[in-house]
C-alpha cells in the first residue's frame, strides 16, 4: 500500500507473497521432520561401528567407509602374524578390515539380494500395471456382465491385510515349489497389487473419451492398435502413478519376504536386519544397505515426477 492510500489490486486466486511464505515454511518444516531419519541413516552409514553406537550420539566424527566395506564383503578373523605376513593391502577396504585383525573372505550376499529386489519389485510392478491396464480398459469400455460385482470382488481382495493369508500361501507355495523363487514372489506381489492397479486405472481410463478410440477405429485401426496409439499415451499419467504405488509396496514388502524367501529369492528387506558384525549388529553396514535400498525408488519417482504430479490428483485437473 502506498502513501497516497492507493491499494494494489491482486488476483483473488493467485496466492499472495505472505501466504506463499507461510505455505513454504510449513512445507520446509514438514520436509525436515521426515528427512531427519533418512539423514541419520546416511550419516550412520559413514560412521565406524564404535561411533555408530556412541552415547551421546556423535554429531561430529571422522567419516569412514567401513560400513560399506563390511556390507559388500565377508570377513574372517586372523592372527596379527598372519596379517603381517600378507602382501600389502590393495585397497582402502582391505586396509580397514586388516586394522581390525580380519581379512576379506569374499563378496557378501548384498548384490544378489539387491538384484532380487530389483527383479521382483519391477517385475511384479510391470505385471500388475499391465494386467491392471487391460482389465480396467475392459471394464471401462465393454459391457461386462456383473461388472460392478466383479469390481467389488477385485477390491475385496484388499479388505484384509495380505499377511492374514500368509500361512495358506506358505503351504500352497511349498506344495507347488514356489517358495524361495523369484517367480513366486513376482506372482505374489502382482496378485496383491493388481486390485489397486485395476481400481486406480479404471478411474483414469473412464476419463478418456471413448470417441478417441472410435475415431481411430473408423480410420482403419483395430481396437488393439487404437488402444496402443490413443489410449495408452493418454493414460500415461495414471499408469505412472499406479506403477509408483505398486513399486513402493513390492519394494518395501517385508512379511511375505521373510516367510517365503531365505536364499535364492531373498529380497533386501529381510536381508538388511540380519547384517551381523563382530559381536552384534553392524550398524554402519545396516545403514549403508538401507541408504542404497532407498535409491531405486527415489530414481524411479524422480523419472516419473512429471506424470506423478498430475497423476496424484487422480485426473481432477486434466485437460
Amino acid at each position: 500500500m502506498s502513501a497516497t492510500g492507493i491499494t494494489t489490486a491482486h488476483s483473488v486466486v493467485a496466492p499472495t507473497g505472505r501466504t506463499r511464505a507461510i505455505a513454504g515454511a510449513i512445507v520446509i518444516v514438514y520436509a525436515l521432520i521426515t528427512m531427519i531419519p533418512l539423514l541419520w541413516i546416511v550419516v550412520t552409514s559413514f560412521k565406524t561401528p564404535d561411533d555408530s553406537i556412541a552415547y551421546p550420539p556423535k554429531l561430529l566424527f571422522t567419516p569412514s567407509i567401513e560400513g560399506y566395506c563390511n556390507l559388500f564383503n565377508t570377513r574372517t578373523r586372523q592372527t596379527p602374524e598372519y596379517i603381517a605376513a600378507l602382501p600389502p593391502a590393495t585397497g582402502q577396504c582391505d586396509q580397514l578390515v586388516r586394522s581390525r585383525n580380519m581379512v576379506i573372505a569374499g563378496p557378501s550376499n548384498v548384490i544378489p539380494r539387491f538384484t532380487n529386489s530389483i527383479i521382483i519389485a519391477f517385475g511384479s510392478t510391470f505385471l500388475a500395471v499391465a494386467l491392471g491396464t487391460l482389465t480396467a480398459y475392459g471394464f471401462s469400455r465393454f459391457r461386462v456382465p456383473f461388472a460392478n460385482d466383479l469390481l467389488f470382488f477385485i477390491l475385496s481382495t484388499r479388505f484384509m491385510p495380505p499377511i492374514a493369508v500368509a500361512i495358506p500361501i506358505y503351504l500352497m507355495y511349498r506344495a507347488i515349489g514356489l517358495t524361495d523363487t523369484k517367480i513366486g514372489m513376482i506372482l505374489l506381489y502382482t496378485a496383491v497389487n493388481v486390485s489397486l492397479a485395476v481400481w486406480l486405472l479404471k478411474g483414469f481410463i473412464d476419463e478418456i473419451p471413448r470417441e478417441y478410440e472410435e475415431a481411430a477405429m473408423i480410420d482403419g485401426y483395430s481396437r488393439l492398435q487404437a488402444f496402443r496409439k490413443v489410449v495408452l499415451p493418454q493414460a500415461a499419467t495414471g499408469i505412472a502413478a499406479t506403477a509408483i504405488f505398486c513399486l513402493i509396496f513390492a519394494w518395501n514388502e517385508y512379511a511375505f519376504a521373510v516367510l517365503l524367501t531365505s536364499g535364492e529369492a531373498q529380497t533386501m528387506p529381510p536381508f538388511i536386519p540380519f547384517i551381523i558384525g563382530e559381536g552384534g549388529q553392524d550398524w554402519p553396514a545396516v545403514a549403508a544397505a538401507t541408504a542404497l535400498f532407498l535409491i531405486p525408488i527415489l530414481v524411479f519417482t524422480i523419472l516419473l515426477r512429471k506424470h506423478l504430479l498430475r497423476g496424484i490428483t487422480f485426473g481432477a485437473v486434466r485437460k
Binding site: 470417441e211 482403419g220 485401426y221 492398435q225 496409439k229
Partner: protein, 337 residues
C-alpha cells in the same frame, strides 16, 4: 464416394428407442442433413452408419455393399464427432496424418505430407501444423477435426454437429466453407444438426427426425413450403410458424378436417385497420437490426411475424389480418389440403 442406404433400422438402449424403423437413401455426392432436437437420435443414426453401434434390426448398405455386420474400419467412412475430436497428445500435423497412417491404408510419408498440407491450406490452418492440438482456439480445433475427416476420400463423411460449439460468426464462415469443399470434392455427406440455418444453407435434402423417427425427407424448399405435419412446419422458419385455431381469423372455406391454420409471414397480409375491420392489435415491434418482428394479439392468441421494414406500425395499433394460402392441419397435426 457412394450412395448409402438405411433400411428399416432400429436401435434401442434398454427401454429407450433411440432410432425406430429408419429408412433413408443418401445419393452419391449428396449433402443430406438430419435435422432434429437433442435426443432425437441423430448421433445414434451416425454411429449406426459408422458401425460403432450394431442395429437391432434392419440393414445398412454403402456403395451397394451390405455393411450391417462389418467393423467400422472396413466401412470406408469418416466421422467428425461433436466433441473430443483431436488427440491431445499429438500435434496438429500428426492429428491430420493419423487417419492416413492406419495399418489398413499404409500411405507413403511424402503422400501423407502432401495431403495434410493441402487440407490444412484449404481450412486455413497451415501455420498451426506444428502446434499441440490442445493449443488451439475452439474454431481452429474444429477445423482440424473437420480436416481429419477430409484428408481421406471415404464413401461417406459423417458429421455430428461439427459447428455447434462455435460462435455465430465462425459458424457462418465454416458453414459456407464446408459446403464449398463438399461441392469441390463431390463428397457424399450425412450431416446432423439441430440448427435450421445449417440445414437450410448446406443441405441438398433435409431429413427431419423426431424421437428416433424420420418424419419427412425433402429439399430445404419442400420441407419449408410443404411440411407433412405441424412438427416439420415448426422446425424451419424464423420467426417460427404461427399455429392459429381455425375460426379465430376469417379464412374462407377450410379443407375438411382442418382445425389448425399454420401461417408464416408470407401467409399473412397485414394492413392498418380501417373503420372497425380490426382483427388484431400490435403488441410491440422487436427491432433486430436487419429485420423487425411484429408481435400481434388476436383474441387471446399471440402471433409473431416479420414486419415490412418500411411499415410505420407501432405498438397499440389496430390491424386487419388475412390469410394468403396458409397451411392447414388436422387435430392429429397432419397436413390437410
Amino acid at each position: 464416394m457412394a450412395d448409402v442406404i438405411l433400411s428399416g433400422v432400429d436401435k434401442s438402449f434398454g427401454p429407450v428407442r433411440a432410432v425406430s424403423d429408419m429408412s433413408l437413401a443418401i445419393a452419391d455426392g449428396e449433402f443430406l442433413v438430419l435435422l432434429g432436437p437433442t435426443g432425437a437420435g441423430k448421433t445414434t443414426t451416425l454411429r449406426l452408419v459408422a458401425g460403432l453401434e450394431p442395429p437391432d434390426a434392419g440393414s445398412i448398405a454403402i456403395g451397394g455393399r451390405d455393411v450391417t455386420r462389418i467393423a467400422p474400419a472396413e466401412r470406408d467412412v469418416t466421422f467428425v464427432f461433436q466433441q473430443y475430436s483431436l488427440y491431445p497428445h499429438l500435434s496438429v500435423y500428426e492429428n491430420l496424418a493419423f487417419p492416413l497412417r492406419s495399418p489398413t491404408r499404409r500411405m507413403p510419408e511424402a503422400e501423407i505430407r502432401k495431403r495434410v498440407e493441402e487440407i490444412a491450406a484449404m481450412l486455413r490452418i497451415s501455420q498451426k501444423l506444428d502446434n499441440r492440438a490442445t493449443r488451439l482456439s475452439g474454431g481452429e480445433m474444429q477445423r482440424v477435426a473437420i480436416g481429419r475427416a477430409l484428408v481421406r476420400r471415404p464413401a461417406i463423411y459423417l458429421m455430428d454437429e461439427p459447428l455447434s460449439s462455435l460462435d455465430a460468426k465462425l459458424r457462418a464462415d465454416l458453414r459456407l466453407e464446408l459446403k464449398r469443399i463438399q461441392q469441390d470434392l463431390g463428397a457424399t455427406v450425412l450431416y446432423v444438426t439441430h440448427d435450421q440455418t445449417e440445414a437450410m444453407t448446406m443441405a441438398n435434402r433435409i431429413g427431419v427426425i423426431s424421437a428416433g423417427r424420420l418424419i419427412q425427407v425433402g429439399s430445404p424448399r419442400e420441407i419449408y413450403t410443404d411440411p407433412r405435419n405441424v412438427y416439420v412446419a415448426t422446425r424451419l422458419g424464423q420467426p417460427a410458424i404461427n399455429l392459429i385455431p381455425a375460426g379465430l381469423i376469417p379464412a374462407g372455406s377450410l379443407p375438411s378436417g382442418a382445425t389448425t391454420i399454420g401461417a408464416r409471414t408470407e401467409h399473412l397480409r397485414i394492413a392498418r385497420a380501417t373503420n372497425g375491420a380490426a382483427t388484431a392489435k400490435v403488441d410491440w415491434i422487436e427491432h433486430l437490426g436487419d429485420q423487425n418482428h411484429l408481435h400481434l394479439t388476436v383474441g387471446n392468441h399471440k402471433l409473431v411475424t416479420l414486419a415490412d421494414p418500411s411499415s410505420d406500425l407501432a405498438g397499440g395499433d389496430a390491424v386487419s389480418l388475412a390469410f394468403v394460402n396458409p397451411l392447414f392441419f388436422d387435430t392429429a397435426g397432419d397436413r390437410v389440403r
